[in-house]
């Protein structure tokens, strides 16, 4: 047996056995970690080390936008145009919704899904329309989301669409532990999808149930992708991040109306710059009886409901 022993005190048998076990173990570990290699499709090193939105220099931002365009092209086979729209000076967005005119057709809901590249399956909808009994109580607990009559409007009810109210005192921003969501100078509360850790505190804090979480990887047919994208707006999100209505930031910061305003067949939805006295929202706030939802919680929404004749 002495002939089996090498100089460092290891026999051939023990060497073979140990090396077999070790190499098998190493192979098993490598095989076990193999799925991580596919993670590269989702999280590149550049993305992993990307800085916070507010700390990105213009050059870094350009590189980030180009990287996002590459990623979307790789995933959907079509190259989008991703921009970082900045808030305008002297602009504060306000929304007004005429509850007398709204017929509950939900066209706004689906125009929003198409414009903002929300997941189609499961479908993420920023707007939900409540069918409320017209009994004078204005009790949201009596609202029904799942109405599906043959024809709307129905008698004896009114319809109240609810989406992000872009509060001036937003509880969702206060609770975010990583400051991945904040209020912009033009009043839009935005989310940095690369900074969000998916803790869903903001969803719990929102009194209007306006935030949506990507529980699964979003699925969007490539031919339905809206290619006019913005960093803080409608670029494709991924599993595990929060998203919300951002007043169609890619449209409104380019001077256009949000998709829900344009599609509304009854003209119930009104949008504009409250700092401009000639805007339609200024007129509505001056001349109509407006109300905000859950005024008692002190969130100071920029989303006003009103009735008229």
């Amino acid at each position: 047996m002495a002939s089996d022993t090498t100089d460092n005190g290891m026999s051939r048998r023990s060497f073979l056995r140990t090396s077999t076990v070790l190499s098998a173990g190493a192979a098993a570990i490598a095989a076990g970690l193999a799925p991580l290699r596919k993670l590269g499709q989702f999280t590149s090193v550049d993305e992993f080390v990307q800085k916070y939105y507010k700390e990105l220099s213009p050059e870094e931002m350009k590189a980030v936008l180009a990287r996002i365009e590459d990623e979307v092209q790789r995933q959907y086979g079509i190259r989008p145009h991703v921009r970082d729209y900045k808030p305008m000076n002297g602009v504060e967005f306000v929304y007004a919704l005429n509850l007398t005119r709204c017929v509950g057709c939900r066209k706004c809901v689906h125009a929003c899904v198409a414009e903002n590249n929300q997941s189609r399956n499961p479908e993420i909808q920023y707007i939900r329309v409540l069918r409320m009994p017209n009994d004078g109580t204005f009790d949201v607990d009596k609202g029904d989301h799942n109405y599906a009559p043959k024809s709307v409007p129905e008698p004896g009810v009114f319809y109240m669409p609810v989406q992000c109210h872009q509060c001036k005192n937003p509880p969702c921003v206060k609770v975010c532990p990583v400051k991945a969501t904040w209020q912009e100078p033009d009043g839009i509360t935005v989310v940095d999808y690369n900074w969000c850790i998916g803790c869903r505190y903001c969803e719990a804090a929102c009194p209007y149930w306006a935030r949506r979480f990507n529980f699964t990887d979003p699925s969007i047919p490539p031919d339905q992708l809206n290619l006019n994208m913005s960093y803080l707006g409608n670029r494709p999100r991924r599993k595990g991040v929060m998203e919300k209505c951002h007043f169609c930031i890619q449209r409104t910061r380019a001077g256009r109306y949000p998709a829900c305003v344009e599609v509304c067949p009854t003209g119930s939805r009104k949008f504009g710059n409250i700092l401009d006295p000639d805007s339609e929202v200024s007129y509505i706030l001056r001349n109509k009886r407006v109300l905000v939802l859950k005024a008692e919680v002190g969130t100071l929404p920029r989303f006003f409901y009103y009735f008229d004749v």
Partner: protein, 271 residues
């Protein structure tokens, strides 16, 4: 793996890598565990996106979305089936424009999903040239006889009590494509909005301020034009009330809510 005898023989020869038979057993178990892990990782797809999920949105649901546009019968008839200039593309793709069909009476055949599309009769002159004005026929009780081609297109239902049903309340008695207000001021057809305003003052005031009616285009006047609609773009002057619309599909959460929830449990967040 290692038999007791081999282990004892190894004990006599101290190995730096494998000093103890128990270590071999632990290593063997770990190896087996990793192999099982690797196998199970290989079985489960890496991308959750490719896991086949049941369709929560029924595939046909979005195909029966009703049109939102309100276009005039004249526009549609004159188009002869080519609707490329009309606003059908809120839903239709430009590459596959909708097909317009006519029946034997030259009436437009509306598909089922467009049953609520409003086709308004708003301008006779779109089809009837001004030098060949429309001749009206009256029945014994003095009501206008609507020709077959216009049946269903022209229904008189103006006002809550439907009492504003006399053509000449708004139209000129001799030339139907001329209008006049109740106090006699003559208006051209293109000024129909002013005619509406002569009775619906507060609504006209709201419309002028942008608070009534459909809006599109640019809120920022410096960036581009705002898109407004005149009264007759949305309301058929002869029957201005909106008819019903087919509602689009409701929410599709990951775990669908019961069809019609009890009101007290219909929502989780007090809304």
């Amino acid at each position: 793996m290692a038999s007791r005898g081999q282990g004892q023989s190894l004990d006599s020869v101290p190995s730096r890598l494998n000093p103890n038979p128990n270590t071999s057993i632990v290593l063997a178990i770990l190896t087996a565990g990793f192999v099982v892990l690797a196998y199970s990782f290989a079985r489960v797809p890496a991308r959750p996106g490719v896991v086949s999920r049941p369709l929560l949105v029924p595939p046909g649901a979005l195909a029966i979305v009703p049109g939102t546009v309100r276009i005039s019968a004249g526009q549609l008839m004159k188009s002869g089936g080519d609707v490329s200039g009309l606003d059908c593309y809120a839903c239709h793709h430009k590459e596959s424009p909708p097909e317009v069909k006519f029946d034997a009476n030259h009436r437009i055949v509306l598909p089922r999903e467009h049953a609520d599309l409003i086709i308004s009769m708003r301008n006779c002159a779109e089809c009837h040239p001004p030098n060949d004005p429309v001749k009206l026929d009256y029945d014994a009780s003095g009501n206008v006889i609507v020709p077959a081609a216009h049946q269903g297109l022209l229904s008189m239902a103006h006002g809550h009590t439907l009492r504003n049903n006399n053509c000449y309340n708004c139209h000129d008695r001799d030339q139907l494509d001329q209008l006049h207000t109740p106090d006699g001021a003559a208006l051209k057809f293109e000024q129909a909005t002013l005619l509406c305003a002569s009775c619906h003052g507060p609504t006209y005031r709201d419309w002028m301020a942008g608070a009534h009616g459909r809006t599109g285009g640019y809120w920022d006047r410096k960036a581009g034009p705002i898109k407004r609609e005149e009264c007759a773009s949305c309301h058929d002057p002869h029957a201005p009330a909106f008819t019903g619309l087919i509602p689009m599909p409701g929410p599709h959460p990951l775990h669908p809510l019961p069809r019609t929830p009890a009101p007290s449990v219909s929502n989780d967040h007090g809304l």
